[in-house]
């Protein structure tokens, strides 16, 4: 009996020691689902290199912001940047981490990927229910060479609150005044038409199944599900296709200002070949936790390396431009974290 007891105590102590060792070498984060695959890939490589474990829970952007504001995690991640006044109010720091783009996935018999051209105003009208059929004059004018049939458009949107929706509706806000006055932008909005699907994978699944449908998804989901997607006309008037290059150009032409905690939107940027529906996903940390933040920054500095960039590209995320990385590093330095 004594023997068992002493082994038990020994084991408990060993576990306790392990636990405390882990606590020291562990970074806890929570937030956006969109960058989750990348963060976990980075975390895996980082742990192999340094032994420091990164635990990232993809609970959604809103949850990430709440958790970091209540100081329960080391960092939060949010797809939509917080306004400077909110950052100041909650005493946070914020920087962009990686850039992603959204595409309009379509399922129209006979039309292949990158064949159809749309612009913001037309997409807005489709999502408002003003344009109801695929052979509408507005779509025809953009696609004189396509054979468009007299079919009803089935509009698919997200049913759950999501940063993806925030970016997409912000894009429509800028491109269509009618959208702005009737619907507006946010993580969930009051959709005038269409059916709702849960998650990017839900939207992809609906578009795949429903003929003559259109839906907005993160680029990687359109690729994974082999969905056809459209080209878009950007504010510079050029017809662009979604790619890491066009996402990166949107990021590079964004108005990133460290004094505003990098708050900006990179939808509809001025870049000549920039994809118009892009967003940077952001990292948030609590300002006063300097020691903890230094470890967080060390990890994210490591993710700015070229090897990490390659990993990001492999998973279809566009890394920040070198100029922007430099700005972020200066921002860290200015706040005593680097």
């Amino acid at each position: 009996m004594k023997k068992i007891l002493s082994t038990l105590i020994g084991m408990a102590m060993a576990i306790g020691a392990m636990g405390s060792a882990f606590a020291g070498d562990m970074i806890n984060g929570a937030g956006a689902t969109f960058p989750y695959p990348l963060y976990s890939a980075w975390a895996f490589a980082y742990e192999k290199e340094t032994g420091i474990k990164l635990n990232y829970q993809s609970i959604g952007s809103g949850g990430g912001v709440r958790q970091v504001a209540s100081r329960t995690v080391d960092f939060g991640a949010s797809d939509d940047a917080l306004k400077p006044e909110d950052i100041e109010k909650d005493k946070l720091l914020q920087w962009p981490q990686v850039i992603g783009g959204e595409v309009l996935a379509i399922n129209i018999p006979g039309i292949k990927s990158e064949e159809m051209i749309l612009d913001g105003e037309t997409v807005g009208k489709i999502y408002l229910g003003v344009i109801k059929k695929w052979n509408d004059p507005a779509i025809k004018a953009l696609n004189p060479n396509l054979n468009l049939s007299d079919q009803d458009i089935t509009v698919v949107h997200r049913s759950d609150g999501s940063g993806t929706t925030a970016v997409f509706t912000h894009y429509l806000d800028e491109a269509s005044p009618e959208w702005k006055s009737k619907v507006g932008s946010g993580k969930s909005v009051n959709w005038p038409v269409g059916i709702g699907a849960k998650g990017n994978e839900g939207v992809a699944n609906y578009v795949k199944r429903l003929k003559n449908s259109i839906g907005y998804v993160e680029f990687v989901y359109a690729k994974q599900n082999h969905l056809a997607y459209t080209l878009l006309k950007n504010p510079a008037g050029n017809i662009v296709k979604p790619s890491l290059e066009s996402f990166a150009e949107a990021g590079a032409s964004g108005d990133y200002n460290p004094s505003k905690h990098f708050y900006t939107w990179i939808t509809n940027t001025k870049g000549a070949n920039a994809w118009p529906i892009t967003a940077a996903t952001n990292i948030l940390v609590a300002k006063e936790k300097v020691d903890g933040n230094k470890r967080v920054v060390k990890f994210f500095d490591w993710t700015f390396s070229s090897a990490s960039d390659a990993k990001a590209k492999e998973l279809v995320y566009a890394p920040l431009s070198e100029a922007l990385k430099k700005k972020v590093r200066e921002y860290w330095k200015a706040n005593g974290l680097y």
């Binding site: 609150g161 909005v189 849960k198």
Partner: protein, 313 residues
């Protein structure tokens, strides 16, 4: 035996542990109720109780919230699923107790109980990937081309059938609740004394007449109890319907339209509710569901008690 329990400390410990366990249930309910009320107070103050209940607005951008659309979806899916589930479940129970040969009773009973053990998320995934395409491609167009052409009733089957709608959600929900009604009905059918049934047979009654005039009247209380259990489950079910209902805040006349229930709204929007009033309105919705289920179950219990009294007389 109070004297005995005084002498025996184990007895005292035992009775107090059971008492604490039972009282804590009440405390938990009161605690949940308290949290729901405090967290939704902002929304109650802003919109008022009545206005929140009857407003069909659900617009997070303009911060205008009302529960009517979600209540509508909850009531429609629950009612429809009960309408589908009850006859099927009672049929199953009759088959198992009265009709089936003995060697079939065990396997079928087991299958029903297994159905109840499937986690609801699996129903959700199965609904999204299997049932919803079948509904959208075959069943709903067929319905539309047959009864959809009738006047008045046809109104229920308008619009493009896509399989993401009230009808699909109700069907999945009904499959989920069938086992509850079926297994409880079966158990109460089994309680019918064999003597009573045999007397009826001796009087020349057919099997149908025995079921209709002896078994069902004898066990209607138990059946009713099973239905209530299913009702409770259907009211609160989330994951099974979250995937196939679309979460559209609209009151519709067609069963082929997407809608939202209270639980689906909560599941879809809770994580990304970014403003205080939005979060508070979601808590307010939860409060509405809490009260709704409470009233329904209390009313059912009351009916049960009343008929029990009448029965015993």
């Amino acid at each position: 035996m109070p004297r005995l329990s005084k002498r025996n400390p184990i007895d005292i410990a035992f009775s107090s542990i059971t008492a604490i366990a039972s009282i804590s249930v009440i405390l938990f309910i009161a605690g949940i109720f308290y949290v729901l009320i405090t967290r939704s107070s902002l929304s109650i103050q802003r919109f008022g109780i009545i206005k929140f209940l009857i407003s069909t607005d659900w617009d997070p951008v303009r911060e205008s919230f009302g529960a009517a659309t979600a209540i509508f979806g909850t009531v429609v899916t629950t009612t429809l699923s009960l309408m589908i589930a009850i006859p099927v479940a009672i049929g199953i129970a009759i088959f198992v107790t009265e009709v089936a040969p003995n060697f079939l009773k065990g396997p079928i009973g087991m299958a029903i109980e297994l159905l109840a053990a499937i986690p609801s998320i699996i129903y959700g995934m199965w609904g999204l990937f299997t049932i919803s395409p079948i509904m959208g491609n075959y069943i709903e167009p067929a319905l539309q081309n047959s009864i959809g052409k009738l006047p008045l009733v046809g109104m229920l089957f308008q619009g493009t059938p896509m399989g993401i709608d009230l009808l699909t959600a109700s069907i999945i929900l009904s499959i989920m609740i069938i086992p509850f009604t079926a297994s409880i009905s079966r158990d109460s059918f089994n309680l019918t004394p064999a003597v009573v049934k045999e007397s009826a047979y001796a009087l020349g009654a057919t099997k149908w007449e025995v079921v209709k005039d002896v078994v069902i009247p004898y066990s209607k209380l138990g059946v009713f109890g099973g239905i209530i259990l299913s009702l409770g489950r259907a009211l609160g079910e989330t994951m099974a319907v979250a995937f196939v209902l679309g979460n559209n805040h609209r009151i519709t006349t067609s069963l082929f339209d997407a809608a939202a229930t209270i639980t689906v709204t909560l599941a879809n929007e809770f994580t990304e509710a970014d403003t205080d009033i939005y979060l508070s309105s979601l808590f307010n919705l939860a409060l509405v569901l809490f009260i709704l289920s409470f009233i329904t179950l209390a009313a059912a219990k009351l009916i049960l008690l009343k008929s029990e009294k009448r029965h015993s007389r």
